[in-house]
Symmetry: C2
């Protein structure tokens, strides 16, 4: 198989380019983002598949099958798998191949605990550090979220909601914490999406977001921390209630 063979373009082409980092009006630094390798693309693609449920928890990831399916050799496949292994999204069971990680319900609860802490930290910092434009951006996205709610589109709601939280991380001006939060969000993303469908959750989200934004605007770090933490905790509670109510076979959790 040579380079002439049709190469599958796996995911978004947002990589392999340059990011223009316009700090001030004058300086324009060019940060060369490493162009995505096939291994990177596959990793992102697999991650996406896991998160949106195309790869169910427990499902097997066969190296050769993936090679065939995506038209590359086993080497990049193995490297992608190694990455996902290190994050904890997948796990190896002896010699029986690698499988999408199964999350126990206690583990999910713990994850939401941690997530709540992280979001709380971000909100606390945002209350101290957010610029006026960042606050405005959050309000603006919140308007979008209201629209998505009124439109009754859970998927759009889920996406816009994610934007809101991204803005929160940005407003906190953190690097490590935001990174951890995003990584954790990925791990529980598959479950989190389901929570959106819970009755009353979308409306609850809206009011909770307002509470967070108000605290940030008021410059009250403690209130912001509590508001954000509670927000995530409520989500987690509702989700775990939901999962617990399902028959074990359907829950996707062992």
């Amino acid at each position: 198989m040579r380079a002439t063979k049709a190469r599958l373009v796996i995911s978004k082409a947002s990589k392999g380019t340059f990011e223009l980092n316009q700090d001030a009006a004058r300086v324009t630094t060019i940060v060369p983002t490493r162009q995505a390798t096939r291994s990177d693309e596959l990793r992102d693609h697999l991650e996406e598949m896991i998160l949106d449920g195309r790869l169910a928890p427990g499902e097997r990831l066969d190296e050769m099958e993936l090679s065939r399916r995506f038209g590359l050799s086993r080497t990049p496949v193995r490297e992608a798998i190694k990455s996902l292994l290190a994050i904890g999204l997948i796990e190896t069971r002896g010699r029986q191949g690698t499988h999408v990680a199964l999350l126990s319900i206690p583990a999910i609860i713990e994850m939401f605990d941690v997530m709540a802490s992280l979001e709380g930290l971000c909100a606390k910092l945002a209350a101290r550090r957010a610029t006026p434009s960042e606050r405005a951006a959050m309000r603006a996205v919140h308007e979008d979220l209201v629209k998505a709610y009124e439109g009754g589109d859970p998927v759009a709601f889920y996406k816009v909601n994610q934007q809101f939280h991204d803005l929160l991380y940005e407003a906190a001006h953190t690097h490590f914490i935001a990174e951890q939060a995003i990584q954790l969000r990925r791990r529980i993303g598959a479950y989190r999406l389901r929570a959106t469908y819970q009755p009353g959750r979308m409306l609850g989200t809206l009011t909770e977001h307002v509470r967070i934004m108000d605290a940030i605007d008021a410059g009250d770090p403690d209130a912001a921390q509590k508001a954000a933490s509670d927000h995530v905790q409520l989500l987690g509670d509702q989700l775990t209630d939901f999962i617990s109510s399902l028959p074990p076979r359907m829950s996707g959790a062992q």
Copy 2:
């Protein structure tokens, strides 16, 4: 280079065996732990080298050099690197190879913030869940810690202190949170050791530990959470003060 060539046994031989998981008196599940591959060994070894400073922040990791040095081909080296990349211990700068991650001071501060949250969560859970024997074990290790303090041995103190925190995680009966805490502790471990040498830190640690244990014994989750969180936060504050006081060249942080 064939298998006959002398193979470097890199690290602890704790893997490649079976773990007996005796749940009750009757059931004995056997969890086959995958035997450590060369890639895994190298990953652990590199991680150790990074943490104890043999690989300095910013130092380059050359694939071929590592292959030569450890007597294996580039493939397992690359896989080990991929794993460390995913964790964030190393990073790739453009096309110039991979380097040990440089931690900025703000990043270190954030890490201690997160660490404080995680420890707080564990303490909170421990206050609710710790068994009498677990509480007793913490007291016992604390006695060792006092002895290490009286003996004036910072390295021993550091190690026993780590034991204490491990016991805290255990008493919390968590899996995910403890895992996260340990992983994070590894990332800031190199800096944390230095904090032990700060004047008054060892004594402070002792009194703070007592506060944590008292809260746990009293069954007061909130007090335990705050005590543990404050404990880590104090450590972090003192450490960042110390690092900030160093000339930039010596700090190991950019």
